[in-house]
């Protein structure tokens, strides 16, 4: 047990140090650690051989016969950060979305494949006009807020007005919603949306959250931001919603308890109580899970591969790895502020120099896939014709030679004469603080670049500063990640030329064909044609290599064995319909007693 304790202690302390370097430290300091750590760390992890991963019992769908389900069970879900506010129009982080979506329903939602759909519990009818410039929604009668007041078309109109109001600070839901130029209540149950332009993404714009007018309009004169003042502060933390759960208690920095709303008009969820427990430390989270006090936690790659093979874990839980449509990248600044990365050959050489297979094994424990561009291979936008750029230092060196960066035999670094000055190929990669995996990856990259005469330095920067420098284009190269929007049109802000000034095209990528294709994709309503457009975008951007694409990441979870009915989506297991609402526990297997932890 002493070994065990020591091993875990050390893991907790040095979890972020690369395993091999850590081993060296360990070996030099204490010989009695040798037996326990060595073998484990050098063996590479293979999730396919792990008997606890993606076990079919986790995915077992909910039975038709409800008597087989324990409908009084409590589900404990971990949040590693606290929601700030439960009013869905102010939701801005994962934490807020996760809780708020249990409390608020709406006429529109999307499924695990990111397909937009109407919610049959809310919608009697939804018709888009032929010209795509307007749409009419008919609500089902009898819908209610948690306080019993009826949900009407006026609530929808009110919510739209609140969101587009400049005085209401709700950055996350404003975009999109402001492209609706009018929202009119035709009667108590009918809403007409008028769009700014006939584009294929309008259906996403109508999916804004709905808040109760009768409660929010009362002090609006005094506090037009719907946020400050005691009244709104209270209301936003104890919201009156319309979803399948009601808020029961919010203990700051500890937990949020939700109770099933038995009057919910649609399919009621299987768990009577839903508790979001806030545990910020990843090790404490795993220990709490192993004690059975959490039902679902997010695992780090290292925990997934190396710290969950104990009997303690396998007695209680399974592991779930699900590919996300999210990718990590090294972004190159191509705006001309440095002499290196405006040249596509140089960027391609960089991609040839990144040893992705090794990084997947050593940094991501084989829990990631090589990234082949901005869209995921499972998505309809992915272009199967692209030529993957393999790790090949010889080709990288040849490309750099071709681009004029020639090795100086005296010191081994590459140089080029730019505007009469001899410039050394030397740049800095900016890494956000706390991104331990990125730091490890950068070490491998640095070594390989050095072997072909390129001098890469790394610099770790605190997150707020990192973002500020990206926004101001003050970087040569930086490492970051993008998640996926629900529609590929969300890439508009990343890749179009004019978004260098106002959007998130930080590196100054510019390709007139890509600009044009994004315009076409927005205006196209025929799915097949749209598909071809985004596939072309995917191919061009991959060939242009504005980023060196690293890996698609996976979401990793630990889930208690008694939970079934889990579905995965390109964004993990939460934030789509039905997500948690389809989870279930077999009758008789629910939490019998809530143990004191």
């Amino acid at each position: 047990m002493r070994d065990h304790l020591l091993f875990r202690t050390v893991n907790w302390l040095f979890g972020n140090i690369p395993a091999d370097r850590f081993l060296r430290i360990l070996l030099s300091f204490s010989c009695f650690c040798v037996g326990m750590g060595c073998g484990k760390a050098q063996q590479s992890y293979d999730p396919k051989k792990d008997p606890l991963v993606n076990v079919s019992s986790l995915m077992e769908p909910e039975p038709e016969d409800k008597s087989r389900i324990d409908t009084n069970d409590t589900l404990y879900i971990n949040l590693d950060g606290s929601p700030q506010n439960l009013n869905p129009i102010f939701a801005s982080s994962m934490y807020e979305f996760m809780v708020a979506e249990q409390l608020f329903g709406g006429p529109f939602t999307f499924d695990r494949n990111m397909e937009w759909k109407t919610d049959p519990d809310w919608v009697a009818d939804y018709q888009e006009a032929e010209d795509h410039l307007s749409a009419v929604l008919k609500l089902k009668p009898g819908l209610k807020w948690h306080d019993g007041a009826p949900i009407t078309a006026h609530d929808i109109v009110y919510s739209w007005k609140a969101i587009i109001d400049d005085r209401v600070p709700c950055p996350a839901v404003k975009t999109g919603t402001i492209d609706i130029i009018d929202c009119i209540a035709l009667d108590d149950l009918t809403v007409r949306y008028v769009h700014k332009a006939a584009v294929s993404t309008t259906k996403w714009n109508v999916s804004f959250p709905i808040i109760p007018k009768h409660l929010y309009e009362t002090q609006q004169e005094q506090y037009p931001d719907l946020k400050t003042g005691d009244y709104y502060s209270q209301l936003n933390r104890n919201p009156v919603g319309s979803g399948p759960y009601i808020i029961e208690e919010w203990i700051p920095n500890d937990r949020i308890t939700l109770r099933r709303w038995e009057e919910y008009p649609g399919d009621k969820p299987n768990y009577a109580t839903l508790i979001f427990r806030l545990i910020p430390d990843e090790n404490a989270r795993l220990l709490t899970f192993e004690k059975g006090d959490l039902d679902c936690i997010v695992l780090s790659g290292e925990q997934f591969a190396k710290q969950t093979n104990s009997p303690r874990f396998s007695q209680t839980g399974y592991k779930l790895a699900s590919p996300e449509w999210a990718f990590g990248y090294i972004g190159w600044n191509m705006d001309g502020s440095n002499p290196f990365f405006t040249d596509r050959r140089v960027r391609t050489a960089m991609a040839h120099s990144l040893n992705v297979p090794l990084i997947i094994e050593k940094v991501y424990y084989n829990l990631a896939e090589p990234c082949l561009g901005i869209y995921h291979p499972d998505s309809w936008m992915f272009c199967p014709d692209i030529q993957p750029i393999p790790f090949d230092l010889n080709r990288a060196a040849a490309l750099l030679d071709e681009a004029g960066w020639v090795v100086d035999p005296q010191d081994g670094w590459r140089y080029k004469t730019v505007d009469g000055n001899r410039v050394k190929f030397e740049f800095t990669l900016q890494i956000p603080q706390g991104a331990a995996a990125s730091l490890k990856l950068a070490n491998f990259f640095q070594e390989d670049l050095r072997s072909i005469g390129v001098d890469m330095k790394t610099r770790t920067i605190e997150w707020a500063t990192f973002m500020e420098m990206s926004r101001k284009h003050e970087f040569q190269a930086n490492i970051a990640a993008w998640g996926t929007g629900t529609d590929p049109d969300t890439g508009w802000n990343l890749w179009r030329t004019e978004e260098y000034e106002t959007g998130r095209n930080y590196g100054g990528y510019s390709n007139p064909r890509v600009d044009e294709l994004f315009e076409l994709g927005r205006k196209e309503f025929d799915f097949e044609k749209r598909k071809q457009i985004y596939r072309e975008i995917h191919k061009i951007i991959y060939e242009d290599q504005p980023y060196t694409f690293i890996t698609y990441r996976q979401s990793l979870y630990g889930i208690q064995k008694r939970i079934h009915g889990i579905q995965t989506s390109p964004r993990g297991i939460f934030n789509f319909d039905p997500s948690i609402h389809a989870w279930w526990t077999r009758a008789g297997e629910g939490r019998q007693t809530m143990r004191a932890q």
Partner: protein, 326 residues
């Protein structure tokens, strides 16, 4: 005494002003601002600079920094700390009040236990210098002093909470607390306090008891102790009445310096034990560039430092009859 106190309080005002001025400019001039962070929070790339500008306007960040500082001063004059610049926009005073019970109870307990144990340990080991108690306690305390509390916390949690399952280690209450009897609830609360209080206390305990011992040894070298012993006074009277009383002066200084820690908290321990304390609030506020919360906490802790030193100075007069403030 009264005029001295008033004089000190008046002197404290420019000091406090200086501290706020420096803090305000440092935090505001650090790259990034709350608007940018919130506009970037969601991975949705559609959020544009327009939204960012609106947020800046909402928080008043579009105005010159000097004006913002003056406005902040005006508000602070009425003890109004303003609204937080995080997405919750709650009143800063409410956010701080929410964290106070956890922080103050822990630090008062820890300070109390620390001094309550340090003084007898220090006296015992000082009085019998190099005796068995001195050697054993010194060894143990030196070892403890050398181990950072967050390192100590890990085996404690793993051993006491996980292997033996004796004490909880997350937060301040158990899941089933509502079903417990009032006594049961108190027991539950006490159990949650034990591990974190230990981790909070032992380092200071080691330091403080060594401090008491050292001062006592210093005093023992004085001639009046020799006199007292020569008079045939009992060792008890010599140590407690003559020697110990004279070690109180440096101890009071130490207490005055420790006093501001009442609101300090510890980010790492609070995260490990999931303790809802001020340390984490301060740290998170800095990362989120939540200027009003950072300023409020800085002012409070600066105020406490000034108050601590003032109280220590006043206490000198109580413990040392030679000190008079007239």
């Amino acid at each position: 005494m009264l005029s001295y106190t008033l004089h000190r309080i008046i002197l404290a005002i420019p000091t406090l002003l200086g501290i706020t001025l420096v803090t305000f400019f440092i935090i505001n001039l650090a790259p990034g601002d709350p608007a940018a962070l919130q506009a970037q929070e969601v991975m949705d790339p559609r959020i544009s600079n327009r939204v960012y500008e609106q947020l800046r306007e909402y928080y008043g960040l579009d105005r010159p920094i000097v004006i913002r500082y003056l406005e902040w001063l005006k508000r602070i004059g009425t003890f109004d700390f303003g609204n937080s610049m995080t997405p919750d926009s709650r009143r800063v005073s409410v956010k701080i009040m929410e964290r106070l019970p956890a922080t103050i109870s822990l630090s008062v307990l820890s300070l109390g236990i620390g001094f309550a144990l340090a003084i007898p340990i220090g006296i015992l080991s000082g009085a019998r210098r190099n005796g068995w108690f001195d050697t054993v306690s010194s060894t143990i305390l030196y070892i403890l002093y050398a181990i950072p509390s967050y390192v100590m916390a890990i085996p404690l949690i793993l051993w006491v909470s996980i292997e033996l399952d004796l004490l909880p280690f997350q937060g301040m209450r158990s899941d089933n607390v509502a079903q417990l009897t009032p006594t049961g609830q108190i027991v539950d609360l006490v159990k949650h306090f034990i591990l974190i209080t230990f981790c909070f206390t032992y380092g200071a305990l080691a330091y403080q008891s060594r401090f008491v011992r050292q001062n006592l040894l210093e005093v023992f070298r004085q001639e009046y102790i020799l006199t007292a012993r020569a008079k045939g006074l009992s060792e008890f009277t010599v140590v407690l009445k003559h020697a110990f009383r004279n070690t109180l002066i440096p101890l009071v200084t130490l207490f005055g310096l420790t006093f501001p820690q009442i609101l300090g908290g510890s980010v790492i321990l609070e995260v490990m034990f999931n303790w809802p304390g001020i340390g984490r609030l301060f740290f998170e506020s800095i990362l989120q560039r939540d200027y009003p919360t950072v300023m409020a906490l800085s002012v409070i802790s600066a105020g406490l430092v000034l108050l601590g030193t003032l109280l220590a100075d006043l206490a000198y007069a109580v413990v040392d009859p030679r000190v008079r403030y007239d």
